[in-house]
Amino acid sequence: MDDQSLRVQNASPPTSGSPPGSFLQEVIEATPGDSRLGMCIQCGTCGGSCPSAGDMNHTPRQIFAMIRADLREEVLRSNTPWYCVSCYFCTVRCPQEVHITDVMYTLKSMAIREKRYDDSTAPDFSQTFIGYIESYGRSYELGLATRHNLRHRPLQLPSMVPLGLGMLARRRMDFAPQRIEKIEQLQAILARAIELEVGV
């Protein structure tokens, strides 16, 4: 606990270096907890540790430099956050303890809110996934896989069929979704949370 409060205090001078209203400030405020994003020293350990950096438009280090340079549009259009696999290698290796994975999630939610992405595969996957959670309270693999593949990979769909059948045959997938008992309760909670989120 003490360690945490100390960290928050120490973090304030560098973040104050970002002018209010800057994109850097916006990202910091939209990230729960202390992201320490203002502490980035551009060492590149993150990109060097990232298993999917090779497929990203910009390495995490570049993205952080771009955030600082207020390149809002370019950052939100980058595929970088969508290629983050949430492995937390960068986060644990960052010498400045920037919560990089959390920042990537923030960038995703900003890009979705403003519909600023060039390839909609990943945003749509997230959207379809959470659609099932909001209707049933639990994920529904068969529906998710079918809908997602039909929309984004119709040509590969036939090659996915054996996998789907295999899952069903092994009883590792169900035909019908499961609904939690108190789905209305969950829906009320989520609706209120989204209301609060938009209000912020």
Binding site: S52, C87, T91, V92, F125, R138, R170, R172, I180, L190
Partner: protein, 336 residues
């Protein structure tokens, strides 16, 4: 002595990772674990909900935490066997503890459903952590009746159990040893697997296949280089990616790897003398029967309808004579 746990199964264990659940339920009484499922739990949001709605993703988890706290009856320990569930539950609880505003907002949302959660009320832990640190390696060793001698195992942790490790559960966030020690305790030969906490591809199998295939290839290639008979895992996402997509990966790279991916609970069960059937063995895509037969364990034969799926429709054999062309006499002999 029994260790009572509030059990959060998560969506995967009910479906894609059913063998993980079956083997966990089978070994629990043997190692003194009593599982009490959290009533009416909902999905943890995986890595998707938080990508769209930050606050709602924490409220989603908050409902589970509130239900667990209500139900806590002689225990405050919530156990998840899925690494993503474990990470999400632990993350929300820990952020609610350090961030007063988030705590307020999550509880505001929970109130819309008549619930409340005081952060820190329950302790969220992964199954491996409980088995290694509470039950203890010695107790596991005592239960072994069929040591898995001669089986070479690549211990694969994946990412989300090891990192970010807010509660300092592991000796190292990149090269933990808990699973290594556990597998040695049941008699297996454990390779020093350098990729043990590298990424399985996560949701990239749904978003960009080539990225996912490369990550899967690295792991399977790595384990094969060390002559592992199989990889053992503790995360439904890792198991699914490495097992169900292995043949697609092979097709993509024109390789021919055959690396079975089993859950650590399945191997514990085998070492405790349980039958393969009750441990959900045989439901993997990359069949483990050859690897396990090396140590004298026979898996049940695959069910008939599985065969249908596994085998490509048999190609019509070309008639020996080929196309109706003029032929030399004795040409058949020369064919051979």
């Amino acid at each position: 002595m029994t260790t009572k746990l509030l059990f959060y199964p998560g969506c995967s264990l009910q479906r894609t990772a059913r063998p993980y659940l079956d083997s966990l339920v089978a070994i629990s009484p043997l190692i003194g674990i009593e599982l009490e499922e959290i009533q009416d739990w909902n999905c943890c949001g995986a890595t998707e909900y938080i990508a769209i709605h930050h606050l709602a993703s924490h409220a989603l988890v908050g409902r589970n935490l509130a239900l667990a706290a209500q139900q806590s009856n002689g225990t405050h320990t919530v156990m998840a066997a899925c690494s993503a569930c474990y990470l999400n539950l632990a993350k929300t609880d820990s952020y609610m503890q350090v961030n007063a505003q988030l705590n307020r907002q999550v509880n505001d949302a929970l109130q819309a459903g008549g619930l409340h959660y005081q952060p820190g009320t329950v302790r969220i832990r992964h199954l491996l952590d409980i088995i290694v640190n509470d039950i203890g390696i010695e107790e596991i060793r005592r239960q072994v009746v069929r040591p898995l001698k001669g089986l070479r195992i690549a211990p694969y942790y994946g990412c989300m159990i090891a990192r970010p490790d807010r509660d300092n559960r592991w000796d190292n966030v990149e090269h933990p040893l808990a699973l290594d020690k556990l597998m040695k305790a049941i008699g297996a030969e454990v390779i020093d697997f350098p990729l043990k906490t590298h990424c399985c591809g996560g949701h990239m199998t749904q978003i960009n296949m080539p990225t996912a295939y490369e990550l899967i290839r690295r792991l399977v290639y790595g384990a094969a280089q060390y002559h592992a008979d199989l990889m053992v895992t503790l995360c439904p996402m890792c198991q699914l990616n490495l097992d169900a997509y292995q043949s697609e990966m092979n097709r993509h790279f024109h390789t021919n790897y055959h690396m079975p991916i089993l859950y650590f609970t399945q191997l514990l069960g085998l070492a405790f003398g349980l039958e393969p059937e009750v441990l959900g063995l045989g439901k993997e895509f990359v069949n483990a029967s050859q690897a396990l037969s090396r140590i004298g364990i026979e898996l049940p034969a695959a069910e008939p309808e599985l065969e249908m799926v596994e085998d490509k429709p048999a190609r019509k054999k070309k008639a020996k004579a080929g196309l109706p062309m003029p032929q030399m006499l004795h040409s058949e002999e020369e064919d051979e």
